[in-house]
Symmetry: C2
Subunit: 432 residues, 2 copies
């Protein structure tokens, strides 16, 4: 891995390079995605079936879209029972963590008859998109579905593209069934997102769409935002490791590679205050990279977006980590909790030598759907928050309104909204 | 006001009619907005100044964009001191309510060395857009700025279009200064949104943009979503009143009109189980409408989107209210709190005869920036939540990782992510 001295210029160059991977920059596909979305909005199932034949290479009827109970049973027979066991173990941790995120309705009352509050309501229907293709991630199914379950969503609908045989990957089906998905439809791509946003005769309209996908899926989600809610648009995966001379170079190298293997756009960055560690990690990376099955992807992503940066000071290292706002941040330093207090921007923060990033991907409990591409500056991990919404509660007695009613009238009249003023005044006509 | 019998067909017709007002349907302006956004992204201040001359009719230099301390002092001299007093009174309530929305970092630990948690961090820089034009709403400034202040945002930047004299409306300046805005820039429209999203030499890049605006502002916010975060895209204002035979027809009529006066696209709907009340409210609306200063707007919005709907049953009335998912919902019934428990979708819920909607616009404390156009099914009122973000915290000891490390390896290998598996295995090489 290349080793660079960390300077303001290096940081800017890297930031610019990383931002080029943003799903916001793929404008050239926008018009074809918009055409697909519009077609599904207007023609429903007919459009879905045409696109499924065109893009997934399988001719289906509307009746075939819903995954049947017997297909789910068939899937259980095909999946290694060890995977089912590990899915169930992971689910316990994921549910337990997300339970702690629950938010509750509250109110505050004053003895003159004022009640103010905030009512929390789960979303009605949620759509979860699961990509198809060769890479199948049952963990992603759990991470997208379980927060919605914990939130108490009425119905969870999943869509995923079928293979050429018209079947869905069995691990996906098993994970969905274990997590408690209510309905699974065999359709993928921008057309699936449009179906979840507008509904078709077969696929229900949802209130919010979550889940990862390729650029067509990401652009379709952006196109339907406003008609429905969406989660943040996912970019390629990232890891940033902040390490000092106490770090184990072999652990750090292995963790960098765990993200580099995702795809050629993935980014793996080490920022260290130790030049010795920089050299050791670089050497360990070379050793591992040649042993691992996905070495082509790893080498490309490291060439494109992999860096070992040697910082002059700890402060500079931390500032740069906050600038980059990485999806995953490992702090492998002598005092990781102290450093954590200085971290403003990161999706998930892993502290200490045994908190390896894949622990968070599968097992620890926190969500692995995290803000990418610098969006940790303003977005949060997927959570129960994504599947609830709030309503304000306002209840005033006559006794409470009377002493302030003239203030409200004054304010409304300053804004030249006389009907607003009138609606307050009418309640005290007898006083006038 | 027209009185209709509430049926499934009526509801569908009304929903379709209301949804036509959605900012999502103004696609024809999209290309001109995208051009403005792109120009500001590439040419910064130069583009801002050109558009300000073109659209606001005032030639300025980059140095003139920032509102100066002396302009703020001048504004205080021009604003009625009674308005300043009422702004200060309202601020106490707004801050007090939003303080209750604060969320806190938490962690959970187990005695084998596991720490899981969620760190809450305020956003760094927030941009608040304030529309110009004839209608000036200092209340809107308070409602957009104060939640960000309560959240602890580092810097709040406001933009608002200048008049032809190059000045900003004094009430806007006073409200902004009272609320604690750090910098105010004189620029409006899509160009201001682009400046806040990408930054210019003069105007800082922000992490999130909030605030109402016309269709150009709404489309620009949608265009920059992903580069920055935005609040939900505001549509025209709405009120839905659920009332039974105990309601005061004069109060209900006045409240319907308070929203109808906003603009010709505003919607005011009464759903009642009482035919007598329906007739009385209709008569009161006619009386008031002719007395009020904004009667042209009121009559147009009532003709377009005003309805009195007579429900056959209470259940039907409530179901329809949930379908419409109104921005403002008043429950003027014998047992408003019981009915409230059945409300799933509404921006703000006002209970009882003295909780008039304008009380919430100005004074009670809850935010008046609310989801419109059916989006209360999945969006929430603007709140402190909008100005924070979360990071997951994961810390495992060796002792905690060891008993489960083979499960994680198994899961990773099932997903064919061998570098993920490797990053766990490397920590227990001595065991292998």
């Amino acid at each position: 891995m290349r080793i660079l001295k960390l300077t303001k210029d290096t940081t800017n160059d890297i930031l610019n390079s990383l931002l080029k991977r943003s799903p916001n920059n793929y404008g050239s596909y926008e018009s074809s995605v918009n055409e697909i979305v519009q077609n599904v909005k207007e023609n429903g199932d007919k459009a879905i079936l045409e696109y499924t034949e065109k893009f997934d290479g399988v001719a289906m009827k509307a009746n075939d879209l819903l995954v049947t109970q017997s297909e789910i049973e068939e899937a259980y027979k095909k999946v290694d029972s060890k995977l089912i066991d590990v899915i169930r173990k992971a689910m316990v941790n994921i549910k337990s963590y997300h339970e702690k995120q629950r938010q509750y309705s509250w109110f505050d009352s004053q003895d003159n008859g004022i009640i103010l509050g905030q009512k929390v309501t789960p979303l009605g229907v949620v759509g979860v998109y699961v990509p198809g293709g060769k890479a199948v991630y049952p963990s992603s199914v759990l991470m997208n579905v379980l927060p919605a379950k914990v939130a108490g969503v009425d119905k969870i609908v999943m869509t995923t593209p079928p293979g050429k045989d018209g079947k869905v990957n069995p691990s996906t089906l098993v994970a969905a069934h274990e997590a408690g998905v209510d309905e699974i439809y065999k359709t993928g791509g921008a057309q699936a997102i449009a179906a979840l946003a507008f509904g078709t005769a077969t696929i229900p309209k949802t209130d919010k769409i979550v889940g990862p996908g390729n650029i067509f899926v990401a652009l379709a989600k952006k196109a339907v935002f406003g008609y429905v809610s969406i989660d943040s648009i996912a970019g390629p995966s990232e890891i940033l490791v902040l390490a000092d001379e106490t770090a184990n170079a072999r652990f750090v190298a292995a963790d960098l590679l765990s993200q580099a293997e995702h795809d050629e756009l993935a980014s793996a960055i080490l920022i260290t205050t130790s030049e010795r560690l920089a050299n050791e990690v670089s050497a360990e990376v070379e050793k591992f990279a040649n042993e691992l099955s996905r070495k082509e992807i790893i080498n490309k992503s490291l060439d494109n977006y992999g860096y070992i940066l040697v910082a002059q000071t700890l402060e500079q290292a931390i500032d740069t980590a906050n600038e980059i706002a990485s999806e995953h941040l490992e702090i492998v330093m002598d005092n990781p909790f102290e450093i954590m207090t200085k971290i403003k921007n990161a999706g998930a923060i892993f502290l200490g030598p045994y908190s390896s990033e894949p622990l968070g991907d599968y097992f620890a409990g926190p969500n692995h759907v995290l803000p990418t591409n610098g969006t940790a500056k303003f977005f949060s991990p997927l959570s129960v928050d994504d599947f609830i919404k709030k309503s304000s509660i306002i209840s005033y007695s006559k006794e409470a309104l009377e002493p302030i009613y003239k203030d409200i009238v004054q304010f409304a009249e300053c804004e030249q909204l006389t009907a607003h003023a009138n609606s307050i005044k009418v309640r005290f006509e007898d006083n006038e």
